[in-house]
Symmetry: D2
Subunit: 380 residues, 4 copies
């Protein structure tokens, strides 16, 4: 099953780490640590092999992939020796990268994007293409400014360049080109009635939102722990310090609001109530591609005795996110192969704010994911 992985934001840290890692694993230079789909539970699920994945993508900047990989190596995300060893393969991928098309109205831009996607599929004779958005987080948009009907949306797109946010425009083009769409960011993406309708119309699956890589991952196991033990969480406060381009972007009020909303969701769903306390994101350039999160949880037990827990998470978001991007490409290709269309809530394991209905606890999400992978196998 030859599978195309088209990355929106393909020269960003997550994408470049994913590409570098994919090439390095394929060359036998490293093992696929962090790849969930390499666990034994997925061995016979009929997923595309890592060798069968072809990568392309869009970006608004044009820094060469190799240069970006070297920057990530200088930042401690990727080993330098490895970048040197796969330099030739990076040039091959480079040939499949395209600038983000810019046209007079959004209908034309979408058509140009879809053309890039179809060309990519044809050029490599791919069975399926999965578009994954790993571009910077957009400010949360007012969804009610977008027509709810597909026809009305199309009409609006003929007139203007800003009816859809960039992430939603990419989802639109993906569906039109017969590609699945995954949103790894908290941006709007496919979460619009008109796009849901289009996905159904074209028979395309989609998933998202906002890859669960650090603080929220931990919350998705700790919050259920308190719930299952019937301990009352009195407050849960979080501080996230992060550098890099992502940090700078998330420090802007709009993107910040989109992100923190996504982060608080898991607590409320897992506990059944919203505990006191805020979740903060602050930009600290010095931290580079690493992120430090600190959470304080106060809770009370039998007879009201007050207790507390703190944790600090010091992780590299690119290194945590990149293998999940590969996982999502494989699993969404499987969904496509199987003829699934519309939201795929079975992929909630990967997201802070999953599409559709799903459990909030990581353990339950895991069980659902494993079942999904094998159902797919059965149905093929």
């Amino acid at each position: 099953m030859r599978t195309g992985l088209w990355l929106v934001g393909v020269r960003g840290s997550v994408a470049v780490t994913a590409i570098t890692g994919l090439l390095a694993v394929r060359a036998g230079l490293t093992d696929p640590a962090g790849c969930v789909t390499e666990l034994p539970q997925f061995r016979d699920a009929g997923l595309p092999e890592l060798d069968d994945i072809v990568v392309g993508g869009h970006d608004i900047v044009d820094t060469p992939l190799l240069k970006r990989a070297e920057e990530l190596s200088a930042a401690g995300v990727v080993p330098a020796t490895l970048v040197n060893a796969i330099a030739a393969e990076l040039f091959t991928v480079e040939a499949d990268l395209r600038p983000v098309p810019v046209r007079a109205v959004q209908a034309e831009t979408a058509a140009a994007v879809a053309r890039d996607l179809r060309d990519f599929r044809d050029r490599h004779r791919l069975d399926h293409v999965v578009v994954v958005n790993v571009a910077s987080t957009e400010p949360r948009t007012a969804e009610d400014t977008v027509p709810a009907e597909l026809g009305a949306l199309r009409a609006a797109m003929e007139r203007t360049t800003d009816v859809l946010a960039p992430s939603s425009l990419m989802a639109y083009a993906a569906f039109e080109a017969g590609c699945a769409f995954v949103d790894f960011t908290p941006s709007t993406g496919a979460r619009l009635p008109a796009l849901a309708a289009l996905a159904r119309l074209r028979g395309m699956p989609y998933a998202g939102h906002d890859g669960k890589t650090g603080e929220t991952l931990v919350r998705s196991v700790l919050a259920p722990m308190f719930a299952l033990r019937n301990l009352a969480v009195r407050s849960w406060s979080g501080t996230n310090l992060l550098g890099g381009g992502d940090g700078a972007r998330l420090a802007e009020p709009g993107a910040n609001a989109a992100k923190t909303a996504s982060k608080s969701r898991v607590l409320e769903e897992a506990l059944g109530y919203r505990p006191e306390g805020a979740t903060r994101i602050d930009y600290v350039a010095e931290l580079g591609d690493f992120k430090t999160a600190w959470d304080l949880i106060t809770f009370s037990g039998f007879l009201g005795t007050g207790m507390r827990m703190e944790f600090t998470w010091h992780g590299c978001d690119s290194a945590l996110a990149a293998p999940l991007v590969l996982d999502l490409a494989r699993l969404t290709a499987l969904a496509l192969h199987r003829g699934r269309s519309g939201p795929v809530p079975e992929l909630a394991f990967f997201f802070k704010d999953p599409v559709g209905e799903s459990a909030a606890s990581l353990g339950e999400q895991w069980a659902t994911l494993v079942t999904f992978a094998h159902d797919a196998e059965i149905l093929r």
Copy 2:
């Protein structure tokens, strides 16, 4: 279903907190926070009501319950107003407490213990009695000094006072008296071939070991998180600082070894390998009934990037353990009622080192527990 809860170590902190809490909940003075069996999932499982539990127990000391409750109140474990409000009920329970019998040989001691248990059951016309060991942790014993055959064990018990550790002697007497046995400590308890045989012979269920109340509880959700994300845990180190009688006891090398072995087990089982790093227990009298645990976890992800997580848990062991003791009394009474005999691994949710075979992840243990509770219902 009138259920007796017989506590070994009934004047210790865990037992007194459990008793105080049970009486306070029953009097409508507090809610049953921390009681797992009060969650909606257990509502129709046919468990004995909290009102139907009668408490008795053994201890080697004779400090009055009320005095012990006042001490716990001074230590911040139990609210003072609450102790005053239930003083009369504490006197009622006091009437069912007995000194640990001491006889010339263990066979006679066991017979005297069994007599106390039968008297308790008859006096209160109880349907079932569950003996729960919450006495201090014993040094780990060399199990091979105990005869593996029941007959040989009985013969040895006729000759000496030390063939069985105290926890095992209690298990022996419980089974002989037709009571279920739960070990909330890491002591040997029923974990001996001859006692397993006796439990089967008398048709009695048993469970244990070592209530999972703090650091290990957190480990049982974090370790699976790393495993499910295919992240390689490179080291996992833990430090436990605790005061109180438990702290002093656990600082002794023998008890310390028993406890830390129990604590490391969950990591190895959840990860599938044993990460580098030790788990320490140190006694700090000043911390009283509270415990502070600090864990450092280093792990690596995609392309070998090194990352780290730390957590600090500041909990009151008595307040965390006491409601679980009530849960175990109810659930084990259900097992007894249902005719289960031998180990009950379905109660692994509560333990660091569960009897029988069970999953290491808290989520899976929870699913098993809920299924168990409802199966029981069906079979009644």
Copy 3:
């Protein structure tokens, strides 16, 4: 040396803890832990004895002192037994508390406040009175709206009720009544040219601002440590979670800005540069009178190697501040006795944002304080 301590905000947590503690120490019920002036270095400095301090004060609310002390006892700040033991003495202090006067124009309000202060001094035949502001933090005021000349200020006060912020009005009245003034908050207080002129005119000393009780105290020893070791601090981020009335007030943007400015100052002064990173204050009602601060410091050493330090401080602000209020009363009375007028920068040891010129390191501030105390002795 009979000394009056007049507290502005006398029914707030800090004031009530200071009063309760003073009475308890005097009654021999507790030792003066946390009182700097009880250290051996101050033994022969000629400070007023704790027995010689008489307490009075203003507040805008009228909850009885005893009730406030009971509330603090319920919150875990003050032992209940102690409040009961000094109930009678609290009633005695109650007789010296006054509502904050409200008049048509600020000149009249100031006169009424000054009258309360003079009456207090006369009633108790006090040698000196020190007014200490422990009221809630005010929003930072634009100082340039206040006339810089004393005459112009007085004229303005004849016309309006809002030329001076409440803390500055209290400083004005204190100086007019011949009292020293200490600001334990980040409010404006005496920091206005016209008030500096008035203090000189009346020969009155003053000190402040913003008692150093938690995160900033720790910063004032850690920042010099990095500086003395020539380690480059790359970022220093802080999060403060606090409940209580103070927390609610500090969560308001104006007060928040005043407080965080005061907190960052020490880093810049001790390091000689301002490291990247913000200091946050968030309100978490659940934490009550306790505060949790978390700081992350990243730094680099020889050859640029990146390293990091984190600390968590979990303190009770009232318990930390109260003894310092007593210290400041004693030390400022000494300054008054000695004839000092104007700012007293030698008290920088106690403050986040000291008046006048002073070193930023706690060690140097300590040396200055001890020298000050003994100079005073010599000059008496």
Copy 4:
């Protein structure tokens, strides 16, 4: 002032980092971060310039310096580009390294060591040579097995190979060769009556013990903070996790005891009492050249209110120690130049367990150090 720095353990991590850094600073490739003597306070103190330092040393292993520098680069301690840039200079230093002499009796070994030192001085026409011990920590030796009289010691050294621990043998040889001696480890070194006598006899200064680079550095500012605020420290517990050769060595019981004794000293001296709680060192190979220390401090303030502080220190010992080794070489050369003999307690700023009498607070130690540097200037 041409100064020789002779490193015992010259191929270990601290020594190689010091050498690499010295060469890199000299080549203008990096700045001397972490070097205390580069702070403005030492500018005119007459210290030898970094350009005037010549490095040699002994080691029991013979791995080339360049290889060791590359290993440190792989471990993240030293930038790879920098190692490449100074490869030629490392070869030059290599020519001055010698194997540790091994002879039939210690008198002969000492003579051979002294010969190496004299040859080094003559070869480079050095004004002074400072021997700094940065070899692995030795098990604490029973000092009473070493003759207290110099004559008796010399007689014993004629007969055997083990009267002196290796660090003490180096100190002996250094003094005999007219070199100063600094012990950067907790080993015995010059701390023997016979060696003190020898130092006086030869007019040689010495300093030590145990460079203060991480947890103890932080303790030396935090403990005085609690003391100056009259806060009662109830418990202070520390856990040190470290990898590398140093970690493996310190995990051995003998060396561990030597190190933890050195670490607890500062608390007792700064507080005036020894708080409850232990200091642990555990070996975690995975951490490599980095060390994570976690300390929990519980303390009580006014009215006995209980509070707590935690800190985590994640540092690279080699990067922290290396610049201090250069500082000590410069400062001890100054002492030598000035004619100081015997212990130099003015260097306490650098040590966990300083020779002679000194204050425990870092601030006071700093003031003493600055004064010492300038006194020296005056006397020259």
